[in-house]
């Protein structure tokens, strides 16, 4: 036996070394996860219980539920919760329905379809801020294209961005627009997984396109719809970036449009109340967690 083979044999004979080998390959990734994900998460959890926490010194007054008590009693946080829930409750179903319809249209084999697909996926490659500014102009009360179009139908001028009662709807419209492309891509890939023969079979039996859509396409798309609902619920719960360009960096025209993440940002960077920010983040996490779990349970009920 050559020396090399001997060495190999010796290595193979050491179970501990062998067990550790995969770990060595994983180490760089695990290290990155530990530093950039695991540590911050643990830190936030701990921070949320430290009352009067100061980041620079690391000092705090005491450990307890004080931050949670403050946040849950803060009317801005309650308002943020209400705004975020409303935003999620409208944007998620609306974007899901729209994306199914649009994906269904984009799935047809028509000449020039690539052009349409590019158009629909444009928001995905556009920066949120740049697009937000464009939307700001479109929402403009006197010069905006949206009010212009609405005026054709006899709708009076709406002060989308300055009137508190309309600002959430402006945010919702913009939110639906920005979330659509990714949602459409998911739906489109789901649609393309449905074998053509199902449609042929139904058509031969005389099914009209409406029945085919509701009795075949939608049920067979159910797993994708479930995925989209989960992903979009999570991402819309974190609505934040969209607010800046629309309302000049303020949470709505009269500070009426706090969202949960905006509240966290506000507590953290503006007010330097790190413990409260962490507590708000924990509450948001728990809410998303519970909602997502509920979704999973419900989806398992009516899946295939």
């Amino acid at each position: 036996m050559s020396r090399k083979a001997e060495k190999k044999y010796a290595y193979r004979d050491r179970p501990v070394l062998r067990a550790l080998e995969p770990l060595a390959y994983l180490a760089p990734f695990l290290a990155a996860v530990a530093v950039f994900t695991l540590y911050p998460v643990i830190n936030v959890v701990m921070m949320s219980f430290k009352e009067g926490y100061r980041m620079l010194t690391g000092a705090y007054d005491q450990v307890g539920f004080g931050n949670y008590a403050y946040v849950l009693g803060d009317r801005y946080f309650i308002s943020a919760l209400r705004n975020t829930s409303l935003y999620v409750a409208v944007v998620v179903p609306l974007s899901t329905v729209l994306s199914i319809l649009i994906a269904n249209l984009l799935n047809r084999k028509v000449k020039g379809m690539a052009l349409f697909q590019t158009a629909y996926f444009m928001p995905m490659v556009t920066s949120v801020t740049a697009a937000g500014l464009a939307w700001k102009f479109m929402f403009s009360r006197d010069f905006g294209v949206i009010n212009q179009i609405l005026s054709w139908f006899g709708v009076g001028k709406i002060n989308w961005l300055q009137a508190p009662e309309w600002s959430l709807w402006a945010l919702i419209i913009y939110g639906v627009w920005s979330i659509l492309p990714f949602t459409i891509i998911l739906m489109l890939s789901g649609l393309q997984n449905i074998d053509e023969t199902y449609y042929t079979a139904a058509r031969v039996d005389g099914a009209k396109s409406g029945r085919i859509f509701f009795r075949i396409t939608v049920p067979m798309l159910a797993p994708t719809i479930g995925l989209v609902l989960t992903i979009n619920t999570i991402s819309t719960s974190k609505v934040f970036n969209e607010i800046f360009p629309l309302f000049n960096g303020r949470p709505g025209p009269s500070y009426n449009l706090y969202t949960v993440v905006y509240y966290i940002y506000d507590q953290f960077y503006i007010k330097w109340k790190l413990g409260r920010a962490a507590a708000a983040a924990m509450i948001l996490f728990l809410i998303i967690f519970v909602v997502t779990m509920l979704q999973q349970v419900i989806q398992r009920r009516w899946s295939l």
Binding site: Y198, T200, A202, D205, P219
Partner: protein, 355 residues
């Protein structure tokens, strides 16, 4: 229902998938459309179903021109190769779906679906989803779904190709039974000659988009119209001995062997021919019977009930079934004779049959 296809032609771009195809399907019969893959048989089925528009030609159902009619108005039942059962519906849901489309009241459609399920023997599985069924059961459900609306024409597109060998045999008999019980005019597309031979009232053999021959299975086997038909049918494949006829003598290509073959005297002299012989038609004659030629044994395969010998004559090899307990050694020379049936002479170039 009687189905007439007249001059049916289908082009895909510059490809001619079906070329001037004229065939009549008799009422209540099971007709197989047989051919190698890419021969246009599935295209014919899709033209019959109305899924594809024809390029030229007409289709008549009981004398009525249905060429321009969309599939849903043709009264056909279609069974797909992959069954295409809706995975989110139960067996009951699948079978009754065509009736749901026709807005048949729930009670009636469940009753009819139940009756159809009983016919194909899946009446105990009505509440299962397709993925909880075996391949054969899925196939049965697919047939029930195609039959539930009482179609005038049942179209089956390679329905057995997704099944394993044993199930295929079982389902083949089942399809035959169901067809005979319902007496629905049926078209069965397959590339499997054995399947077509065993199941059909009539076989329509296609190649390269063209009709080759249309006949009862046994006729097709015994009286092939051209070399393609003879080659396509039969296992092991028919033997080829290339050569020429001259003065009642067949001379093998290469000139190393020749033998008198008076039966082939009708073939034109001087043309390159193929003497095609089925393996069961070449045999070792009894001592008092005349032999055609002597051939050297190359190898012998005993396969249970029969023995297949590989022979060499003049540098050309051919197979013949050996009768009785004959197990010759390789290298020995044996006399060979042809039976009356199963020996043909074809033109090498055109495939035209002379004998």
């Amino acid at each position: 229902m009687k189905v007439d296809m007249q001059g049916l032609t289908k082009h895909f771009g510059t490809t001619v998938a079906v070329d001037d195809f004229t065939v009549t399907l008799e009422d209540g019969e099971l007709t197989s459309i047989l051919g190698p893959s890419g021969c246009g048989k599935s295209t014919v089925l899709n033209l019959l179903a109305g899924i594809l528009p024809v390029t030229a030609g007409r289709i008549y159902f009981d004398g009525e021109d249905v060429t321009g009619l969309p599939p849903e108005h043709r009264g056909i039942g279609l069974v797909f190769q992959n069954y295409a059962l809706y995975p989110h519906m139960t067996v009951m849901g699948n079978i009754s779906f065509p009736l749901e489309i026709q807005k048949v009241p729930r009670n009636e459609r469940e009753e009819r679906a139940r009756a159809m399920a009983a016919l194909v023997h899946v009446d105990r599985l009505l509440h299962r989803k397709p993925k909880e069924l075996s391949g054969g059961q899925q196939q049965r459900v697919a047939i029930a779904r195609a039959l539930v609306k009482n179609p005038n024409l049942l179209l089956l597109d390679e329905p057995l190709s997704n099944l394993d060998a044993r199930l295929r045999l079982e389902m083949r008999e089942e399809i035959r039974r169901i067809q005979q019980e319902t007496r629905v005019t049926t078209v069965f597309v397959t590339h499997d000659q054995e399947e077509a031979m065993s199941i059909s009232d009539k076989i329509v053999l296609m190649n390269a988009g063209r009709l080759q021959q249309e006949a009862e299975p046994q006729t097709l086997y015994n009286e092939p119209r051209n070399q393609f038909v003879a080659d396509f049918l039969g296992t092991p494949p028919i033997n080829h001995l290339p050569g020429r006829m001259s003065g009642g003598v067949f001379t093998l290509a290469g000139g190393q062997a020749s033998f008198p073959f008076p039966r082939g005297a009708g073939a034109p002299e001087g043309r390159d021919l193929i003497l095609a012989v089925r393996s069961e038609s070449a045999h070792v004659p009894d001592p008092d019977e005349p032999a055609l030629f002597e051939a050297r044994v190359e190898s012998v395969y005993a396969m249970g009930k029969e023995v297949l010998g590989y022979f060499d004559i003049g540098g050309h090899s051919f197979r013949a079934y050996l009768e009785g307990d004959l197990l010759p050694r390789p290298g020995t020379a044996l006399p060979i004779a042809f039976k009356n049936r199963g020996a043909f002479l074809f033109d090498k170039e055109t495939g035209e049959r002379y004998l």
